[in-house]
Symmetry: C6
Amino acid sequence: QEPTERRTAVPGVATGLAVTGAGGDVLYIEASLADAETGGTGLTLTGQLGDVMKESAHIALSFLRSRGAELELPVTDLRDRGVHLHIPAGAIPKDGPSAGITMTTALASLLSGRKVRTDVAMTGEVSLTGRVLPIGGVKQKLLAADRAGITTVIIPRRNEPDLDDVPAEVLDRLTVHPVGDVREVLKLALEPAEVLVAAA
Amino acid sequence: QEPTERRTAVPGVATGLAVTGAGGDVLYIEASLADAETGGTGLTLTGQLGDVMKESAHIALSFLRSRGAELELPVTDLRDRGVHLHIPAGAIPKDGPSAGITMTTALASLLSGRKVRTDVAMTGEVSLTGRVLPIGGVKQKLLAADRAGITTVIIPRRNEPDLDDVPAEVLDRLTVHPVGDVREVLKLALEPAEVLVAAA
Amino acid sequence: QEPTERRTAVPGVATGLAVTGAGGDVLYIEASLADAETGGTGLTLTGQLGDVMKESAHIALSFLRSRGAELELPVTDLRDRGVHLHIPAGAIPKDGPSAGITMTTALASLLSGRKVRTDVAMTGEVSLTGRVLPIGGVKQKLLAADRAGITTVIIPRRNEPDLDDVPAEVLDRLTVHPVGDVREVLKLALEPAEVLVAAA
Amino acid sequence: QEPTERRTAVPGVATGLAVTGAGGDVLYIEASLADAETGGTGLTLTGQLGDVMKESAHIALSFLRSRGAELELPVTDLRDRGVHLHIPAGAIPKDGPSAGITMTTALASLLSGRKVRTDVAMTGEVSLTGRVLPIGGVKQKLLAADRAGITTVIIPRRNEPDLDDVPAEVLDRLTVHPVGDVREVLKLALEPAEVLVAAA
Amino acid sequence: QEPTERRTAVPGVATGLAVTGAGGDVLYIEASLADAETGGTGLTLTGQLGDVMKESAHIALSFLRSRGAELELPVTDLRDRGVHLHIPAGAIPKDGPSAGITMTTALASLLSGRKVRTDVAMTGEVSLTGRVLPIGGVKQKLLAADRAGITTVIIPRRNEPDLDDVPAEVLDRLTVHPVGDVREVLKLALEPAEVLVAAA
Amino acid sequence: QEPTERRTAVPGVATGLAVTGAGGDVLYIEASLADAETGGTGLTLTGQLGDVMKESAHIALSFLRSRGAELELPVTDLRDRGVHLHIPAGAIPKDGPSAGITMTTALASLLSGRKVRTDVAMTGEVSLTGRVLPIGGVKQKLLAADRAGITTVIIPRRNEPDLDDVPAEVLDRLTVHPVGDVREVLKLALEPAEVLVAAA
Ligand SMILES: [Ca+2]
Ligand SMILES: [Ca+2]
Ligand SMILES: [Ca+2]
Ligand SMILES: [Ca+2]
Ligand SMILES: [Ca+2]
Ligand SMILES: [Ca+2]
Ligand SMILES: [Ca+2]
Ligand SMILES: [Ca+2]
Ligand SMILES: [Ca+2]
Ligand SMILES: [Ca+2]
Ligand SMILES: [Ca+2]
Ligand SMILES: [Ca+2]
């Protein structure tokens, strides 16, 4: 497994957490925008996503289409350029609503050009108004984040009680941020915009 | 469970009542409009909605497309901006016609910018002409509304006899409005438009 | 059950007759036209309609698209405004061709602005040229019409022999019109256009 | 059963022959063109048609789109006006390729405004180049035509040997035209164009 | 069975070879182009074609869209006029990739206006670059061609070894052309363009 | 089996490696662009590709739509000209993510006009950001490449440990390039652009 750092080295990639048959795992949600002159349009979803996970992508996109301007994101890109969300590995089926905030973050990173912090992973269902709703598997997900070298984890506020089940030594190594709104997620997870210094 | 108040704190969210395997429950119907410049179009439905519930959304939308101008709603938004209706939690399948008036209310709230009253929950099938048709599970739904701190419930007029089955102490805490037309629902459930006071 | 009178109080609603597991029943076919500025387009069908019933709606619409001008209906509305046909109750599956003339009548009522007579119910398959073809369940349908307070029933001419099976006391209360062409149905079922009297 | 004469009293209806569980039967193929100002487009097929029969309709339409101008038909109507082909009765499933020449005839009748001769019924698969290919059930179909009062039947040339199986007394009452090309069918089946006599 | 000569008497029809349950058979692939003013668009496929055979049609069309200009074919017709490929008999399911070069030939014949030689039949999978790939059933196909009066057969070069299995007397009557590229097929199978001699 | 050299003799064809029931095999991914004036649009996928393999094609295309301009590829072709990806043989079902880098290479070859080196074969999943992810069957694939006369093989860097399982004599004959990014693949696999020497 390669370090997370490399996977999120470009804007548009966010680190999520999943429950698999063999415990928890990190996953990377990749987003891309087609150059406008290539004729790409619409939303493409790949990675063998199930129905519920596809709906999460639509929710993330609609949230940005209705609230993105408030967040000072260049939302006209969503009209002019095709959006693609992909979750490797491509042959493994994935489903469930808990990638909602990660999808929203990947898209916001892509639109803003701000990278996602490489030390941050996250899990949480997102609602159409941006609320963060509780998910399952908190313990396995935090163990997986810890194994992958992640140091900061974002979870739904309503999942705070589940932290009781996580071994103390793991919690010691992790900074856990319980959140109630996806706007908090974006503040925590996105790096500052890079400042372009013009030569004098 | 968070208070209903927070969920309906923005226009476009209405509180419904559902029958589940474990009695009744409140659910939140969230509606959003894409900013016109984002290229969002059409109607998107998420939340693992079954066929009948999807049809309810189309009925609610067609009602507003044919009667919304009479209600002084800015119906051209329905042409220029994509509509999305979502019902959390995203992984739980939902079906049936009884969210019809709640969907209509969420959409009317969104278009008008008037919030839905946080103390109000509702259940009822809506017809294409705006009639409110009877539904099942009145007892379980009112018990769930009461448990969630709701104080006002809207039900179909033809369900009035079912109130006999609801415990008197619950009915004491609730104001129940039996209605025959969805226009009555909108009058009862939507807050007045906020008055913008211009600085002199 | 509410009186039919209320259901057909607006143009676009016609009263049909169906055979159910428990005998016959009246049903209401509701049609709406989206305001042109709302962007609604095409034909939307709801009410858990089966394949054959959906085809009946397409036949009714094509009949009006090819013959509506002869009937002095404003057929350009069918181009500029989305059409929605719905049959409550929304959760009950419905199928069969016998709602064909009722669908045609609901659409013609909507386009013309002429209400459907509240004392009239009807049953009959419609062909693309407007012919009225025979259907089943005449006896049960007439009993249901009579129970619902209907006084005038339109049936296909080729179903006249089935009237022998209807109890005489029911036939005494009903005026039955056997017809061969849907144009006869429209003449019988639509109220005269309301005369707008301008103030002098 | 009503006389065939009435069914083909308008351009756009042709009489076909089918094999059913109970022998043969006549069927009527109805075609309509939407008025251009109604916004109807494309090809609509109804009557519970199976895959093979739907393909026959596409073949008939493509034949007219590529060869109709040679036949002096106003083929631009196929661009500007929606086409609908329907075969009553609407609830009975129908399939097979043998309605191909009947569909072509109904469409050519509609485009030309020339009625189909009421004494003519036909059966035959049509190919994309207009060839008439053999079909099954010639005996049952001719018996059905005879029972329905038809006096002229068009069959594929390659089905001529099957006439041996038809009772002599039926063949005595029928004029049978074996054909190899759908252009022959149109010459045999379409009435002359009505001459409009202008008042002097 | 009618002579092949008649079936390919117009541009757009090519003779293929198929393996059926009862040995081999010839089949005719018919192509048509809608007149531009009829509004026909896209690619229509009929004849109960299976998935693999439908893909062959798309490959043939894409080959002409990318390489047709080099072959001096009027490829803009593919933009302006709907293409229809049909394989009679319409009720018999057909599948497999071996009609690829026959489909390409039928389309090239149609575009060029050059008829396909009536003495030629062919079989071979085509790739997107025009390569001719091997197929099965060479023996049965050549026997069928011979029975149908075909004198020239085109097969994939990589199927040459299968000629060992064909009876010598059949091979004596046939001229067999093994080919590696569909451009060779077109040279062998298409008649020269007809010279229009203008009256002086 | 024909030499790989001939298959990749034109831009747009890349050599991949697959695991089949009978060990490994080489496969050829063919890409074509419709001439703009032929009206071809969108992405067509043929060769009986499974869901995962179809998604790989979408990922390859989106990668070029978002990153192709950086690679100095004429990406507006993707807007103006239909793209078709095909994998012979057409009747054999194929699936899995390991053709991702081969599809990307075929498309980049087609757009750039630079041929793919005939001595190179490759295998690897591609992510939306261009990362090369590990695949299975390295041993069988390298044995197949060697049998087919391939001398250079590109594999994912994370599959390097699998080289231990490949017989030394095979590895002696092969140059193996482990890569982490598809941009490395393009540098290794594409021939230099042909220099057009203008006559003085
Ligand atoms: Ca599902
Ligand atoms: Ca706990
Ligand atoms: Ca259902
Ligand atoms: Ca009760
Ligand atoms: Ca059905
Ligand atoms: Ca009777
Ligand atoms: Ca079928
Ligand atoms: Ca015989
Ligand atoms: Ca298949
Ligand atoms: Ca052999
Ligand atoms: Ca699959
Ligand atoms: Ca190993």
